[in-house]
Amino acid sequence: MLDTAQHPASAAASAAAPPLLEVANIEVVYNDVILVLRGLSLAVPQGGIVALLGANGAGKSTTLKAISGLLKTEEGEVTRGEVRFAGERIDGIDPHDIVRRGIFQVMEGRRIVADMTCLENLRLGAFTRRDNEIRRDIEMVYSFFPRLKERTGLAGYLSGGEQQMLAIGRALMARPKLILMDEPSMGLSPLLVKEVFGIIRRINSELGVTILLVEQNARMALSVAQYGYVMEQGKVVLDGTAEALAANEDVKEFYLGGHGAERKSFRNLKSYKRRKRWL
């Protein structure tokens, strides 16, 4: 059960309509033994951008894979709780079926098909579609990412930024209702990060695609999201509106703070803090 008292956004949303995506108290186990998510809950309202923040290894990618079903391809399994999309349970369903229902995951590390061209990658994104508007949508993707149109060679030779754009463009080709985006800013220059986040905002506002955004770059993520969750060791430890999180002292200290000398003691400090505040 989702504890609505703990989740103001979902409480507010459920008053009007149920959230598009609802993850309720899920537990995820890899290889039958490694417990990675330990009762995680979150909700993503229709049309919103929700950020999922947390340190490396917190379980952010695992959360996205639990939603998209890709967990199955890594010997992972949702052993407790449920995932609901548009009111229907989707945990346990095969990933290719979940894509057909309208959830598309842009995986960490872009994962474009390196030995195909840009165009072929885009056409692959439309694999689940049988309509005749695919050509039009390719032009639409090019209008978001004009530089992809000029790239005729193999996608493996694109720069990191272009690969990220291609990965996002490929997701758009599936006409998803919800995009799960895993660390789109990873490895990009500050300028490119800005550009990519600008696009994410436009996808949301112009195409009406709901977005669950996993990021290490908390500042950027909170600048485009309306709501955010912070997770640690497989659990949500803090959530709130993007403004509230950006103003939160702990979030500031751990996720928005400097990256210099404090990094070394970061781990100890964090667990100390967590014990004090959250456990």
Binding site: L70, V99, R100, D115, L124, F127
Partner: protein, 297 residues
């Protein structure tokens, strides 16, 4: 006279080589899509040719009808083999999968002998003219047809993998199964489809050879010739498979020529491709067209 013989042998080499290329392509298709080394590829030709022969002689179907029914049958045959035999072996050691395909090969080899006997049986004549003359050379009509069919299949593969939705899905699956699944592609379905296509294409090759030489268990030799062809071309390259097949076909016939003219060792036709294979692998261990990985972080 000598020159004409050489030319004739080269032409034969290309025609047979194109068929090797087609069989090698269907072998590589399975390998690329589902990472299975199919030692029963030659038996696909055998089963396809026998089924077609049976429909044409026992059921007296017209050629086109018998051929189409054969293709439909082979589609099911490929899917059922994959689903029943190979799917349960996913995740098992490579050696188990190899043993399974070797077993399949032996099983179908024996089954066909049991049903149809051990002697070669001729196809009912399909063409009114046995031979036609091309550029002053006498060529069997069936050979010409065989070359035409091989080229059509190759063009079909090219189109399929470049432009069709399912062809792209197969390439994506070969590249990374998790990525394929994230795009909405059902990987088990891709596996089954690759076996179906492979079985159908091999059967076409089998029927073609059958029309020329008659149907017999000798057809499964094509499954062995596939190995020098695909290893020459690089195990994971469809284009390489085609070229490898052509090279093997031409080499065989050249070797026969050299042998007949000067050496008189008598078995060069059989072994020359394997000598060439050894030589090429010494120079290029991944074959002529083995994967160059593109990596970028």
């Amino acid at each position: 006279m000598e020159g004409a013989l050489l030319f004739q042998l080269l032409l034969n080499g290309l025609i047979v080589g194109a068929l090797y290329g087609v069989v090698a392509m269907s072998f590589v298709l399975i390998y690329k899509a589902s990472q299975v080394v199919n030692f029963a590829q030659g038996e696909f030709l055998l089963v396809g040719a026998w089924v077609c022969w049976w429909l044409l002689t026992e059921w007296q179907l017209p050629f086109w009808a018998g051929f189409l029914v054969t293709l439909a049958f082979m589609t099911l045959f490929g899917i059922i083999l994959q689903v029943v035999v190979l799917r349960p072996l996913i995740g098992e050691p490579v050696i188990s999968v190899i043993m399974a395909t070797i077993g399949l090969g032996i099983f179908f080899q024996a089954l066909m002998k049991w049903i149809f006997g051990v002697f070669a049986k001729p196809f009912p004549p399909v063409f009114s003219a046995e031979r036609v003359s091309v550029l002053g050379l006498e060529v069997q009509t069936a050979y010409l047809l065989s070359l035409g069919i091989s080229l059509a299949i190759m063009a079909g593969f090219g189109w399929f993998f470049r432009y069709s939705r399912h062809g792209l899905a197969m390439r994506a699956t070969a590249f990374d199964q998790q990525v394929a699944q994230s795009l909405g592609i059902s990987v088990p379905r891709v596996f089954a489809m690759s076996w179906a296509i492979s079985a159908v294409v091999s059967a076409v090759a089998g029927v073609t050879v059958g029309m020329v030489n008659g149907v017999s268990s000798a057809l499964s030799v094509y499954g062995i010739k596939v190995f020098p062809a695909v290893i020459l071309g690089g195990l994971d390259s469809i284009l390489g498979a085609v070229l490898g097949g052509l090279i093997v076909g031409v080499l065989e016939n050249l070797a026969q020529y050299v042998d007949g003219q000067w050496l008189n060792w008598g078995n060069m036709y059989q072994v020359a491709p394997f000598y060439a294979l050894l030589l090429i692998l010494m120079v290029k261990p991944y074959g002529l067209f083995g994967t160059k990985n593109i990596e970028r972080i």
